[in-house]
Structures are given as C-alpha cells and as structure tokens.
Symmetry: C2
Subunit: 257 residues, 2 copies
C-alpha cells in the first residue's frame, strides 16, 4: 500500500499519485524541511537548520487521495507522519471488534507517535479523509533527531497533549447526548479545521460522520437534511457548505444546564 520507487524519491499511496512540490504543494518526493513554509506549526519547529543534514533515511513528502491509507495496525515499516494539508481520520478497533473514528487530525498534527515509546505496531488505522499531504519520517530518523535534539521532545509532548485534549472533547461533545447535538458539534469541529473563506466546510461522507458520532448513517442523514432545510447549513458551491455557527451552538447547548 505504500511503496517506494528508486532511492526513496517517490511515494505512491494506494495506487494514486500526483506531482507536488514541497513548498508550492506540487512537488512530490524528498521533503526539504529547511525550506518548509509551514514548519513553524510542525513537529520540527525549534530544530536548527543543520538538523537535517545527516539524516540517514530520507524524509519523504507524500500525497494521498481521500480513502488512502497512511498506515494500519499491520504496517511493518515504522514511520511518523506530519500532516501538512488535509484531514486524516484515526480509526480504532476495540477488543470486541467495534470500530469508531477516535480522532480527526489536520495540518500541524503528527501521527504514529506511539512508535516513539517502544510500541512495535501502530495502535490504529490512519486514513485520509480529504486530499492529504504529509511528511513521512522514518522511525529511525525520528529517534536520531530526538536523541540529538532534546527540544524535539517538548514538541512531541505538546502533540500528545493536544491530541489528549481533543480526545476529551471527542468524548463529551461527539459521544454524549442526542444525535442532533453530536452532529452539530461535529460540524462546529469541522469549521475549526476549515481552511476555506467564511469558514465554509465540506461535509464528510455519511459513513464517516456516523462513525464519528456513534450513530447510523440514516440518523446522520436525517439530521443533516433537517439542518439544510432549516438553512443552518446551505450549499455555497459544489461540495462546500456554509454553517450558521451561532445556531449550531444553540443546538449543542439545548438540553444542557
């Protein structure tokens, strides 16, 4: 599912490729962290320019289409991924087989960090929701950088803490209360992730929304349809919706204290 051609210059995800550039998003291949224009928000902010001179394994920049798998629990080639653009869902399979999406991560987030403290395998499956580009940092490289630059530890720490906070929010806002409130909260969360003008969002496929709020697709569909009818959600372009944030916040609170 993840194969390398030549000497690590190209990554092809799930059979779909595209040319991209690290700095202008059209170059695909070896990442150039020194010139990364979004490095301030990434894992490697705080590292000196010279840090990447002698990395043994290449850091690759890859692009994934919606549905493309960044990794799953069976993956054997360990690496950490830093998301540069797009949305990634983390799917967790419980011991009893139940599946749910436990996190949604966007630009600036790092995934696969569990490998850093000794885990042999990923804890969940990471799948691109929208078009995603990300840097793939081989575990050995990450370890080397980490031992050489202790400041990186603080970055990792912050990543984990942020994800933990997100998890808490996920439990209270997306896994509690009636379906209408959960969906409202999900839409508000998508607004947070929005990179569009006016905070417009693109809706996720129904199945994903259902796996996020822990209901069925039918229920999600009904709720969303109702929101559209009431104009709290209306289409502004193909696949792009504007959200009435104030009204959604009201829904989210309507049976709380």
């Amino acid at each position: 599912m993840l194969c390398r051609t030549g000497s690590g210059k190209l990554l092809i995800m799930s059979g779909e490729t595209k040319k991209t550039c690290c700095t202008d998003r059209r170059w695909l291949g070896r990442a150039d962290c020194r010139r990364c224009h979004i490095r301030h928000m990434m894992l490697f902010s705080g590292l000196p320019e010279s840090a990447f001179d002698d990395t043994l394994q290449p850091i690759n920049h890859l692009l994934t289409r919606p549905g493309g798998v960044l990794f799953d629990v069976t993956e054997t080639d360990p690496a950490i991924f830093a998301i540069r653009r797009g949305l990634v869902k983390l799917q967790h399979t419980a011991t009893d087989g139940a599946q749910r999406i436990v996190r949604l991560l966007g630009p600036g987030s790092a995934i696969g960090l569990e490998l850093l403290d000794g885990a042999r395998r990923y804890r969940n499956t990471a799948i691109a929701v929208s078009e995603v580009d990300a840097c793939r940092i081989p575990l050995s490289t990450a370890r080397a950088l980490q031992s050489k630059y202790p400041v990186l530890c603080a970055q990792v720490l912050r990543q984990l803490q942020d994800q933990l906070d997100l998890s808490d929010e996920w439990i209270t806002a997306l896994s509690t209360g009636p379906a209408r409130e959960r969906v409202a909260n999900l839409l508000l969360m998508l607004v947070q992730f929005s990179t569009e003008a006016n905070n417009d969002i693109e809706l996720l496929p129904g199945e994903d929304m259902a796996a996020i709020v822990g209901t069925t697709v039918e229920t999600v569909s009904r709720v969303v349809a109702s929101l559209k009818r009431r104009q709290l959600l209306h289409k502004v372009a193909e696949g792009l919706y504007r959200v009435d944030e104030k009204a959604l916040h009201a829904i989210s609170r309507e049976d709380a204290g």
Copy 2:
C-alpha cells in the same frame, strides 16, 4: 480544598485526613522518593538517587477520601500528581456544559501533565473515586527536574501516550453500542484496575458509572441488577463483587461482527 499546614509537611484534602507513611502507607507528609517502593512504575523511575536532593519545593505525599478533589479547573496552585494507590476520575466539561468522566486512572498514572507544556490551568477536574494516595509535585519542581534530567521527558511521553490509548478505548468500548455492552466493558475495565484477590472489584456509585458510559443512572442500575440476577456479578464481601469475565466478554461482543 487543598491546604498546607506548617512548612509543607502535611496535606489535608477536603477536610479528611489520615496518617500515612510513604513506604508503608501510613505516613503523611513529605514524600521520600528515594525510598519509594513503587517508584519503578512511577513518573520518576529512571532518575538517579541524587535527583531529589535539591528540590526547592517539597514533594508531598497526600491521602484523599472518595469524593475528595485533587484539583479542578479553577485551581491556582499548579502541581502534578502521581497516583500511588486508588482510583481517580477525570471529569471533563464540554463547551456546551455537558459533563462526562473521560478517564479513570490508577496507580502509576500521573495527572495534571497538561501544565508541563504551558497550560495555565488544568483541563479537567480530578476527583478521588476510592481512597487515593498520591504524590503532589509542584510544577516548579517538575520543571526543574525535567530540564535537569531529560530522561524524565520519556516518562512523561509514555504517560501521555498511555492515557491517549486509554482514551481511544474509552471511546470505542464505553461510548459506543447499547448500554449493556458499555456497562460490561466498564466492569471489565474495573477488573483491570483491581488489586484484590480473584480480580474482585468494588462497584462505583451509579452516578459515576452513568457518567462513564454516557447513560442515566436508572439504565445502569437496571443493567447491573440484571447482571447480578444472572450471576455474572455476585457479592463476595461487603462492597466487593466477583465478575464472570468470560460471560462479560461475550456480552461485549454480542452485536459486533
């Protein structure tokens, strides 16, 4: 709610006190980390003996009764807590006011770690579920140790990663599916925490169980009553129950693939 008498030798939580010793659990006061008999599982495992010689602020050992508040979001005296014994619930209040218990932490876990990367206030409320003893490490001490002993960072990292994994489990096992399955999963989780013989557990108050599985107290009560009737849960002593793990696992799977 958390007051210090004398020169930091004694901590009294929520008006309830008890004498304890750091090594034999009956001494209450300044923690002696060098002789801590459970340090191998704690935050400070990996630190040299001398590390605690020159801590400016005292690390205190405190004991809290069920219901006692270790900290809440309004707390102004920043510290990290390492749980030595007992169970602590972390309660999260969503932006919309909804409350849920987002984590249950036992011996070896550290809480309040969010303060380490710059948060000015705790993100949730920590309340003792059973009788708890814990070490209270002032933030300044923690920071000092952290900068002096980089190995501590790995410990913190592991703590966060473990809590993140627990969160994922929480979402899939305790916030998804019918109430019966959730309660079964909760009981199985309590078995994990059990320090009793035969993995016997003490049930949580109904309100807590409800706040964990995201249902009402009535529903929890009905489910638990049914389990007792079916002998999957039966009293072996006052407040102590034995669990039929095999049967509960069966319940937890019964409508999964």
